[in-house]
Amino acid sequence: MKIIGLIIALVTGVLLIGATGDFPDWADPASPASTHLSPHFIEKTMEETSVPNIVTAVLADYRGYDTMYETAVIFTAGLACFILLRIFVREEPGDRLYRHLLTGVTVRVKEGMELPPSEDFERIDATWTPPDLIIKTVCRFLIPFIQLFALYVIAHGHHSPGGGFQGGVILGASIILLAISQDLRTSVRRLREKLDAVLCAVGVIIYAGTGALCLLLGLNFLDYSALASVLHCDPVTARSHGILIVEIGVGIAVMCTMIWIYNNVSSTGKYDEGL
């Protein structure tokens, strides 16, 4: 097997290296890739979409259709992890453990018994380890700033590197950080599974719906200039706003999917304490 693998890898490598012989030199400004389509994007983006970050403009407008499916791919992955891993256990049999938050006393509740409704008790697993105080506090401080930065990245994608996707991942990472530094139950209490799953779909719907709205307004799918009549601005500005709207959709979808995948993977679908 090793030899076969080596041979396949080498044959592929030789084929690819052979083909690079006819490539234009690396970073050559006169290569076809730099002279055929890209000059149009670089020179016309500003007047056609009024977005200075060309990557954002091409991503969400010229090739917005790709990006919609990119969001759909992420959504599919979230759904796939969910359907593969999630185990719906209504109520595990046996005793349950609760921890009193103020005193740190652990209470064992026998099967069939209920605890009086109270905010002070936290459900824990048998293998529960107390979160480290330093880590917990530092993360508490960090998370709001991470989220603020993520929102900045989404909102400022027109003018600087970033956009819905990166911002969404960072937002997702902030919740994942909460799940790691404390436990999964804490983060799921902040963002319920159902809400998370529905928001995933909503994010992609914002994108596809913006496109469909353009279609209903009489132009082609995803042609944001149709939004001009709704937003009361000229078509070029409408494109810029359209990009912002879909970036927000991408951000929501990506954030929720990352959390969804993490929750399912880290608890193997049981939604217990996680890592």
């Binding site: 076969i4 080596l6 890898a9 890739a33 670089i42 007047e47 977005v51 990557v55 790709d66 993977v265």
Partner: protein, 134 residues
């Protein structure tokens, strides 16, 4: 010798990407551990992304974000020359490819966890031996 260096400098990015791709492909075919294969798969995908990004590079150009972009579009906008900015198209494509690779990674890991919970091992040969025993 001078020619050789010239060729190496002109193409070494492509060669490195091919090396990485071969590493990834080799790992995917040869490795016995399912998670190792997933690592190989990711290296393979990243290598392709490196290739695309290399196609976009342009000597003497800057990042594809227009200067003085804010607010002065329209009639008085100053001229933008294509040679001053790196080709943005491969970047756009690769943003999509990165997303696809993380999506594939998620699904692959979920499957690996399912396989582990069934056979209690991640080694492919041990799993196949277990299947044969049945």
């Amino acid at each position: 010798m001078g020619d050789l260096i010239q060729i190496v400098v002109a193409k070494y990015n492509y060669w490195i990407y091919i090396t990485l791709m071969m590493i990834g492909l080799y790992a995917m075919i040869v490795k016995n551990n399912l998670v190792k294969k997933i690592v190989g798969m990711n290296i393979f995908q990243t290598a392709i992304i490196l290739f695309y990004v290399s196609t976009g590079a342009k000597r003497g150009a800057t990042i594809p974000i227009l200067e003085h972009g804010h607010g002065d579009h329209g009639a008085g906008a100053h001229m933008v020359h294509a040679v001053d900015y790196i080709n943005p198209l491969p970047h756009v494509l690769m943003l999509t490819a990165i997303v696809v690779s993380v999506a594939t990674l998620g699904v692959a890991l979920a499957l690996a966890i399912r396989v582990y919970s069934r056979y209690n091992t991640l080694e492919e040969d041990e799993i196949l031996a277990q299947i044969r025993e049945k």
